[in-house]
Amino acid sequence: MNAPGQDLVLIRAAMDSLLPMHLWIGLDGRVRSVGPTLRKLIGEGADDVGEVFLSGRAGATEDVVIAIRIAAARGERLFLRMQRSPHLNLRGHAVFANDRSVLVNLGFGIGLHDAVRVAGLTDDDFAPAELAMELLFMREAMGGVLGELKRFNSQLEAAREAAEVQAHTDALTGLCNRRGLELALNNALRPARGSGGAGRGRDGFALAHLDLDHFKQVNDQLGHAEGDRVLCHVAQVLRDVTRSDDTAARIGGDEFVLILKGLEDPATLDRLGKRMIEGIEAALCSQQNSCSVSASVGFVLSRFYRDLPAARMLSDADAALYRSKREGRGRVTILTEPPEDVT
């Protein structure tokens, strides 16, 4: 409740304490008093407002003292830059006081951190009611937390990548698993489809389905550990015959599938198939026992499957493999055209 006719009078020390960022200007534009914090920013001795400040409002051309008086008259927000450090734009408001003088109170806004750096401000330079300390605290706290979150993010990303590789890898042999094969086969079929009839040589590929012969005996007679060793040996043979953009996958107990990019010549594939079989047969040759292992292989060529689903290509490769099995195992079958639909 304001009693009429009672005006507030403050001594300078009270002003300095309450408004450490104040500026009191006489009608002549000379500084009558400056709060201690603002004094740190503008430096000692400066007492002509026009020499210390610039109007901080965008595009302002008028004299800064006039700008301050206009802001006081209109009750508008006031922006002031310091000649010494013009990158700091202080903001505040101005009110008329006795003798047509003007009292301005200023604050830092978002430039607070820069002001702290420029003037070496401390906790004592801010009025307790100001949120400056909280803002500085938040700035550092958020910076720290963001740094940690960034760390977590890259950790999660690395973990996700590792999980994805694991999801597509056969744990025993390190080859692709069925999921990895399906992905690779769909990728291989995409360019083969997109290119239509042309570019067949560049995008074509062969799909090999390979199944071990007599593998069950290995497991039964020599134990599963030896069986696993044979599977790893096979994986190594397949790795040796494939190049970096080919795919080798183990899709079941002793079933393997290869995607061989750019290979469509039956004679080359036949040689490659025989080399794989020889390599696989070497797995147990050093052992003096009745067990032996070999492989049957079936090939199909991508150029017949441009309009057919990937699953059909896999099942035809399987059919080629079974022809090898029927015809006596340890051999290669290459389908040079898709088999008749057996429906």
Partner: protein, 196 residues
């Protein structure tokens, strides 16, 4: 449990007792978690158990009382430059700092809303004694705060006696300016980042 907390606890153990001890603690935690049918949250390298479990598990392995380990954790936290700076923002001298610990849960909540620091009530007793009362349900926080206060008294260059009585931390300040405190300027952001 917030991952920041888990990471702080893991870093504390790695820093103090070495990576081998930390892996042992995590392995033991994961074992317990599995036997309690609690799944692991934190991926292949991290620990799936909560910070409240990590410290007691470590305490068993190190044959130390868990409160002692929580105190060490508090002191270790205050020694991290980034955290030390955030703490120093709260008070211009040690007494001011202790009094403003009432605001600590609020400040922490402001930055990380999921982080639940229990309420801290600061009471001034006769002379230069302050009592910080925490809920009796949070003994680990009481221990941690005691460790943190000892380290911060050092940081401010204050001679003080810090004791735990139940869930209360008793702070006796005998000499505010006993020694030269460590340097603190508001504009230390870059320095803090460099030393991180």
């Amino acid at each position: 449990m917030h991952r920041l907390v888990i990471r702080a606890v893991e870093e504390f153990l790695r820093d103090t007792y070495g990576a081998a001890m930390l892996s042992q603690v995590i392995a033991s935690c994961n074992e317990n978690a599995r036997s309690n049918a609690v799944g692991s949250l934190a991926g292949p390298k991290g620990c799936g158990c909560s910070a409240e479990k990590i410290i007691p598990t470590a305490a068993i392995l190190l044959k130390k009382p868990p409160e002692e380990l929580f105190e060490d954790l508090g002191a270790w936290l205050a020694s991290r430059e980034a955290i030390r700076r955030l703490l120093r923002f709260s008070g211009r001298d040690f007494e001011d700092f202790v009094i403003s610990l009432e605001e600590l849960p609020g400040r922490a909540h402001f930055v990380i809303p999921e982080l639940c620091i229990p309420r801290i009530d600061v009471h001034r007793q006769h002379g230069n004694t302050l009592r910080l009362v925490l809920p009796s349900s949070a003994p680990e926080w009481t221990a941690m705060l005691a460790g943190l206060l000892r380290a911060m008294a050092d940081d401010y260059g204050t001679l003080g006696l810090i004791d735990v009585e139940g869930s209360t931390v008793v702070v006796q300040i005998s000499d505010q300016s006993f020694a030269e405190g460590r340097d603190f300027s508001l504009d230390g952001g870059q320095a803090a980042e460099r030393s991180r």
